[in-house]
């Protein structure tokens, strides 16, 4: 198993290198550059700034410098956030995104499994119809609409209550987190509910469940040991990528709720062609995603005895 993990890690490093290289060259081929601004720079000022960022060197030289810095874990200095190191930006803002993301995923996973099991249990009956209708809504309504609506609902709720029960935006306390995390996790929860429902339905009609029933096992035991445990496997599989996707994709929610997460910097950097921040966040997110996939594969082996890691 350790050999397997090592093998996967090496593959991961190659993947990340590929991401870094592809992003580097794609980015430098986009028309425009990070130094272009509303105020045009004189040649002298421009060359001062270019020298500061090493943009005056040939592209392949820049690439070599970039890679050697990357190996040492140094992403360089941001162009738009002068004087701020990309490492600092990631270190300060990723935890915020991560906390929001983890909470959203927990919310989504717990909700998805519970609702999914419930709909399977009551299939083709009223609870099933109601929940599946909500699931369709959750999947199809984009998060910026949900975010804006829930924020508006908060304002009205607070004014109805006559005081600020839950903050409308901002970050810092437990109260700031609840609504954004729910909004962020909603789409994933809806998706997981469907996944859980179908995998549960498959299990319910399988032979070993019938055998368990025939043996006269108590229903609660059949339900937990035989049905839930088996049905949950596909959910665990998608959970890893989902954590990465949610943690990195919270831009809209972060914007609407004024949360100082990393997603905002990522999108801003792309718009502003902030080379170092684009590279830093892309490589970081890429590595994070690759890592999560490996973790899930390993966990999968632990949960499902049929899967052997080699």
């Amino acid at each position: 198993m350790w050999l397997y993990i090592l093998k996967r890690l090496i593959q991961g490093v190659i993947t990340v290198w590929f991401i870094a290289t592809a992003t580097f060259f794609a980015m430098h081929n986009v028309p425009g550059d990070p130094l272009l601004n509303d105020r045009a720079m004189t040649a002298a000022i421009r060359s001062n700034v270019e020298a500061k960022y090493g943009l005056d060197k040939h592209l392949t030289t820049q690439y070599v410098i970039y890679l050697s810095n990357l190996v040492r874990g140094d992403f360089g200095i941001s162009f738009t956030q002068e004087n701020r190191e990309v490492n600092d930006i990631i270190r300060e803002h990723f935890p915020v995104s991560a906390i929001l993301g983890i909470l959203a995923v927990m919310f989504a996973a717990a909700g998805g499994v519970l609702w999914g099991a419930l709909t399977a249990l009551y299939r083709n009956r009223m609870p099933d119809y109601i929940i599946m209708f909500l699931v369709i809504l959750g999947i199809s309504v984009p998060s910026f609409v949900v975010a804006a609506l829930s924020q508006l609902a908060l304002v009205n709720f607070n004014s109805f209550a006559g005081r600020t029960v839950l903050p409308v935006a901002g970050w810092g306390t437990i109260y700031h987190m609840i609504v954004p995390a729910m909004v962020l996790g909603l789409g994933t929860m809806a998706y997981l509910t469907r996944l859980m429902r179908s995998s549960m339905l498959e299990i319910i009609s399988s032979d070993f469940v019938r055998t368990a029933k025939a043996k006269g096992l108590p229903p609660a035991r059949i339900f937990t040991r035989h049905q839930l445990r088996n049905a949950i496997l596909p959910v665990v599989t998608v959970l890893g990528p989902a954590i990465a996707a949610i943690t990195t994709g919270g831009f809209v929610v972060e914007l609407v709720f004024a949360i100082p997460g990393l997603g905002r910097y990522f999108v801003q950097a792309v718009q502003q062609l902030d080379y170092t921040v684009i590279m830093g966040t892309t490589v970081f997110y890429g590595a994070f995603l690759v890592f999560m996939v490996i973790v899930v594969d390993v966990i999968y082996g632990l949960i499902d005895p049929r899967v052997r890691l080699k």
């Binding site: 425009g32 300060e92 519970l114 607070n158 229903p219 049905q227 004024a258």
Partner: protein, 569 residues
């Protein structure tokens, strides 16, 4: 499993009710586990962001809560370029000269000054203090200005110091920075030599890039000056006492600040970083922030709530800029004239954009620019513009003949991707199709790509805008100088250049203003641009807060003169 017999059904029901109970139990466990997790995460988050924000106004603490548009990248005034940093610096720093509540120049760190043809002298006030109690000296300005033009600093705004002798040469690395024409004669006298006469120098020194830095503190910060609350010194009405990056700032009243007519609040909290107008409106409605701006769709609700809605012009003028480079269709005068005569900015603003605070633009110079004794546009009224389709078509025919064309090829119309610019672009496309039969091809580009195309000249018309750097007509007036790099359409005219030289250096205010009058005339007659609109904003402020200002030049929001008034008027 679609076939289910009656007996099986009842068995199923017993099973599902039993399993359902089990599920309910799990749901309960999950809820408890999630609550614990939530609590633990909030403890973890507590260390990354301060839980500030105690309502829009806290009367006991004499404090207010506001939003910032973005996290200031850093606050070394010699290098800042963004609006958000300008706002923070305007509250915690002060230049030699400052703006009062009515936008008039008033003494700041300098108690008096003298501007001559060859230079200027500033006398620094005795009670000018840094936030650690030490005196602000002339040397602090000398050091700061040398620091700005030092090539190693790589300041993007260094050009604004170019009127000072040798500034450009130092910035290009041709002279050592000690050769910059600024000297501290003694602790309280600052002597400046000019490269060329600069009658508007008083307005320049009010700008951020001219703020002081204390040398010994700067060197002690080891390259991190301006990157954190304790990594800088302050000389303005407030000091930054806490700075949680990406989340919040706390500004406290500066006890060493000299002017008792500024800085009435004890605390200003910037608890939110957001540009989202809807989020800001919600925060305002929830009583969390003291002011927010409003866009057109929000106005009906605001009026329903009986809010006091104010407007202000943010200073920016938007216009259609022609590409005057050789070989471009729009290099032809008659084509430009035809397009000018076939449109009316009032229609664009009132019927298409419908933003209540926008003003149809009639000149390159916005309405708030000062003349000699009154507003510039009062002293030098811009040409009266009327839509005249007959004359427009005559000019179009002349253009067709001069260009030797049977039919006009499509005109490339470059624009940004904001909702307003897209709306405007589509309006002009339709307008010129109907009125002149011209084909407009809209080229939508995101910010940097649009700038790249503007710089390389890949357009016939670009939807552009220009905002002021300092409070003088020259900030707009020199835009179409042949040497100005912001002249993206590469308009070149000797007559224009000659007037701009006068406007830059003429010491007689009337003659200088005459030159701006000429610049305004040329820009209309020769159709350098077609002015579209002057941008403005509607905004609302908590009625208990008085003295709040929004400015076209300097910080976009200004709380320096703000105070709480609970009398309810």
């Amino acid at each position: 499993m679609t076939e289910t017999g009656p007996s099986q059904m009842s068995g199923d029901q017993a099973f599902s009710s039993s399993a359902g109970k089990q599920l309910g139990l799990y749901a309960l466990y999950t809820l408890v586990a999630l609550s614990i997790l939530l609590y633990l995460l909030s403890v973890a988050a507590g260390s990354t962001a301060g839980g500030l924000g105690s309502g829009a106004i806290n009367v006991e603490r004499n404090s207010i809560t506001i939003t910032l548009r973005e996290e200031p990248p850093q606050l070394d005034a010699s290098r800042t370029t963004d609006a958000s940093s300008f706002v923070v610096l305007a509250h915690v720093m002060e230049g030699l000269i400052a703006y009062d509540v009515d936008n008039e120049l008033v003494p700041g760190m300098a108690e008096r000054w003298e501007i001559r043809a060859d230079g200027a002298t500033f006398w620094i006030r005795e009670d000018a203090k840094w936030s650690d109690g030490q005196a602000v000296t002339a040397h602090d300005f000398e050091f700061a200005w040398q620091h700005v033009v030092d090539p190693a600093t790589a300041s993007e705004y260094s050009f604004i110091l170019y009127p000072i002798k040798n500034a450009e040469a130092v910035n290009q690395g041709e002279l050592p920075k000690e050769m910059l024409g600024v000297t501290a004669l003694d602790a309280r006298t600052l002597e400046v030599e000019f490269e060329r006469p600069t009658p508007y120098f008083d307005k320049l020194v009010a700008f951020n890039t001219y703020f002081p830095i204390r040398e010994e503190f700067y060197n002690g910060a080891d390259g991190r000056y301006g990157s954190d609350a304790d990594m800088m010194l302050y000389n303005g009405p407030y000091v930054i006492s806490e700075w949680v990056h990406g989340a919040s700032m706390l500004w406290r009243k500066n006890p060493y600040y000299w002017n008792d007519q500024k800085g009435f609040l004890d605390e200003i909290v910037t608890a939110y970083i957001t540009q989202d107008v809807n989020a800001k409106l919600n925060l305002f409605k929830d009583g969390q922030i003291v002011d927010t701006h409003l866009i057109a769709p929000m106005l009906p609700e605001a009026m329903e709530r009986r809010w006091q809605i104010d407007r202000f012009m943010d200073g920016t003028v938007f216009f259609l800029e022609f590409n005057h480079r050789d070989g471009r269709l729009t290099g032809n005068y008659h084509l430009r004239k035809a397009m000018q005569l076939a449109q009316d900015p009032a229609e664009l603003v009132y019927k298409v954009l419908k933003e209540a605070a926008y003003l149809p633009a009639v000149s390159l110079f916005p309405i708030w620019i000062d003349g000699v004794d009154a507003k510039f546009r009062k002293e030098y009224p811009p040409a009266e513009h009327h839509l005249d389709l007959g004359k427009a078509r005559e000019h179009l025919e002349l253009a067709r003949q001069e260009l030797g064309l049977d039919e006009f090829p499509p005109i490339i119309f470059l624009t940004g991707d904001t909702p307003v610019s897209l709306l405007a672009a589509e309006y002009y496309q339709e307008l010129y199709k109907q009125n002149l039969g011209l084909d407009i091809r809209i080229d939508v580009q995101i910010f940097k790509q649009r700038l790249a195309k503007m710089t390389s000249g890949e357009f016939d018309i670009v939807l552009a805008g220009w905002g002021p750097d300092y409070d003088d007509a020259l900030t707009f007036g020199d835009l179409f100088a042949s040497w100005n790099l912001n002249n993206r359409g590469r308009y070149v005219s000797e007559e224009m250049d000659a007037q701009i030289r006068i406007a830059q250096s003429e010491l007689d205010p009337r003659l200088r203003m005459d030159a701006f009058g000429e610049i305004q005339r040329i820009s209309y007659d020769d159709v350098i641009v077609i002015p579209m609109y002057e941008r403005g904003w509607s905004f609302v402020v908590d009625p208990r807060l008085k003295g709040f200002r929004r400015r076209a030049v300097g910080p976009e929001v200004d709380y320096n003169y703000a105070y709480l008034d609970l009398s309810g008027n």
